[in-house]
Each structure stands twice: as C-alpha cells, then as structure tokens.
Amino acid sequence: MVEAKMVGKRYLGKQAVKDLSLVLEDGKIYALLGPNGSGKTTFMKMVAGLVKPTAGELYYNNAKIGVGSKKEVAYMSTEPFFYSYMTVKHVGKYYDDFFEDFSMERYEELIARMDLNMNDKAKELSSGLAAKLKIAATLARDAKLYMLDEPLNGIDIIARESVIQTIVEVAGEGKTIVVSSHLVDELEPIVDSVVFMKKGGVVIAGDAEEVRSERGKSIVDLYKEVYAE
C-alpha cells in the first residue's frame, strides 16, 4: 500500500527523516513509535502529501503521492488545524464538500459519541475535545489508509478507551491504520505491526507478535530499551 525507498526530508539545518525505507501493507494496524524528533510526524505528513521528500521515493499503491492518494488517505495531525471561524458543524460540512468518502451520518454519530456539540466553535474547544473533533472528522471518512498522529494526546483515560474502540472498529472493516503515540501500553493490545523510529530512520519494523517472540519482550519493554540508550 505504501512504499518508502530511502526517503529523506531535510529542513533548514535539520535532517528530519533520513534513508527511510518501509512498506506498509493493506489491512493492518501499525504503531509508529519513537520519541519527539524521531521523524514520525514528518513521515506521516509525507504520506499525506503535506510534505515533499527531499530524497528517495515514496509511493501509495505504486503511484506517487498526489491528488489520487489524498482521496484515499485520511490524515489526522497532532496540531489543531481547522479554520478559526469553524464550528464542529462547519468542519463536517468542509470534509463533506471535499472528500467523497466522508459520511455526514457517521460524523454526527462520532460527534455524539465524543460528547461534542455541533455548534461548538472549534478554536474554543479544550485540547481534549479538539483532539476528539479531529478524530471524528478523520474517522468519518471511509478511507483506505488512516494516519493518526498522536490521537490520544490530551484525551482523558476514559475517553481514550472510546477512541481506541473506534479505531478498532474502523480497522475491523479491513482498513490500514497507522497510529503514532507515546502511549505504547495502550496501543500494544490493538496493533498488528510496529515501526520503531529513531533519528529519522527505522530501527525496528515488523509483525508485533514476531518482534515480541524474537526479542522476548513486550513492545512496551522494547520501547524502553530502544529509547533509553
């Protein structure tokens, strides 16, 4: 589904991603793990078409990232990005206007589940509610690939279960989901594969079960080991 060949991205004086090679397969849930600055967000943005690689090649279904891939990839950024004038309802209308795979019915259902109100101003929401709004807008799309950057950030422990449950529901429909998070323990039970990133590159990637058995450790313990170095 996604193939990265020696992909790199350099910003002013900083190499955000370097020689990254990775294949994401259909119908799996991936945990993209790594500390701040490891290149997770830059990689996701490259797949979403927001950031152009400065080296290497990146493909979605054997085609370059572009208008075609944007129709099928749903990206949720970690920062709030809705226009200042928008209410929760406006956000739904915007997605409905631009994405053929967006379901207003599903969006309304998710908004209700997330305890949001259609008339709430997006920019006035607390960080937790703003995160829920981003999740609702993204998951209301019937995309082929979901890229969720830190979806659990700012969300309280009870609501996290609801978010994870929603992600699992979406995954149940045969979708590919890439989730980045620091909260490894909460992701471990639901992911099929893991990708550990460090200094802009991939250090470990593979089936979660195989990684656990090969290394004789849980993903959480492996995370501590890899990033404590």
Binding site: G13, G49, L50, V67, G68, K70, F81, Y83, Y94, D97
Partner: protein
Amino acid sequence: MGRLIKYEFRKQLLSKLIVGLIVLVLEVVFALGLFLEKEYWLGLAMGLLIFVAFASLFYFSFESIITYSNDLRTKHSYMLFLTPCNMFEIVGAKLLTTVIQIFLTGCVMAAIAIGDVFMICAKFGAVDELLRAIKEFFQLFTGVEVRLTEVIYVLLMLLITWLVFVAMAIFAITLSTTLLSNWKFKGVVSVAIYFALDWVVAKIASLVVSTGFLQGEYLVVNTDAWAYIGVYVAALGLCYVGTALLLDKKVSV
C-alpha cells in the same frame, strides 16, 4: 474549483461584513444629510464613502495575499493541502476569488455612488442637468465622444494590472516557502524578487508597445493597447503556472 472559491470567500468574509457595515452607516448619514439638508453631513458621508471605496479595493486585494501567506505558513494550511485538489485548482481559486472580489466591490461601490448622486439630483430636481453635465465633462476631458470600447479597455486594464500585482505577490510568497525555504533571508529575497518581477513586466510592456496608445492626452484602443494588456495577461499566466508548479513539486506545510 467552486468549492475552493466558496471557502476562500468564507475565510475573508469578516472584512466584507465590516466594510458593508461602515458603508451602511455612511449611507444613513448621507440620507439624513440629504433629507435634513445638512450639507456638512452630506459632504462628510460622501468623502468617507469615496475613501472607503478605494481603501476596501486595496484592502481586499491585500487580504487575498495575506490569506494565501497564512495558508502556507500556519497549520490551517492542512485544511487546504489535505484536500484532493490539484495545485492549479487551488491557485486558480485564489486568483479567481480576488478577481470576483475586486469586480464586485467595484460594481457595488460604483452603484452606490451613482445612486447617491442621483438622489442628490432628484432632491434638488436636477437630474437632467446632471446627465448633461456628465456628458459635457467627458467631452471636455477627452475632447472626444466617450466610447464604450475605451471605457471597457480602461476597466479591463485596471483589473488585469491589479490582478498581476496580486499574482506576483503570491508567486513571490510561494518562492520563499518552497525553493528558498532553506535560505536565511528568504523574506527579504522574496520581496526583492517581487519588485524585480514588477520592473521586468513593466519594462517588457513598454518595449512591446511600439508607437504608444496614448496619442497626446487621448487614449486610443489600438493594437499597441491590446499588446500592452497582452504582456500583463502573459505575466499573470506565468505567475499562475509557476506558483502551481512550485506548490506541486516543492511545498511542505
């Protein structure tokens, strides 16, 4: 592209509402001045209306440039660049929104001005005199009968040259966030590029126009006149294509 234009308008709606409100208040002052025969109010309202008309035309164009800059530099950019629209549509929507805004603002302000002048004449029973005076004014000013071709030409030239000003600014901003994004003084460089482009286009236009289309004090819509506009249309096209290609190949938000 219609959806993109809709949201471009929505993003810039607040300034239109504020200008609309100011015009409404000034029109009320104008009407009160007219019917209560308070010349000071009348003069003040007319003066301010003329000022607001020109200021809003400038501001709306400037706002298009600021909105584009924000679309590239803030997180709101995701709203635009996540959509499955190609860059030609995105840039085209921005330029078309600017054209529509300038055109509509010009039409509305002109309609208000004409309406106000006719109200004054109606109040003082001088509509016929006004029409005669307008005709005489144009004849005195140009020395010839006012022809529709010249009026349309002047309006078209103003619209296109103004649009090129916006398109070049958009192109310069795009350069600073794409090809020059890793440069330290990209802001200064992009401003310098803008002025250089402006100079180059004006220079080419002056070279292309061989005999000139201003004969003495009079405007003549001849081949040179159209060539002059042609240069600006070409500059507009180049800025449009250049901006879209740079966004397509290089933009990172």
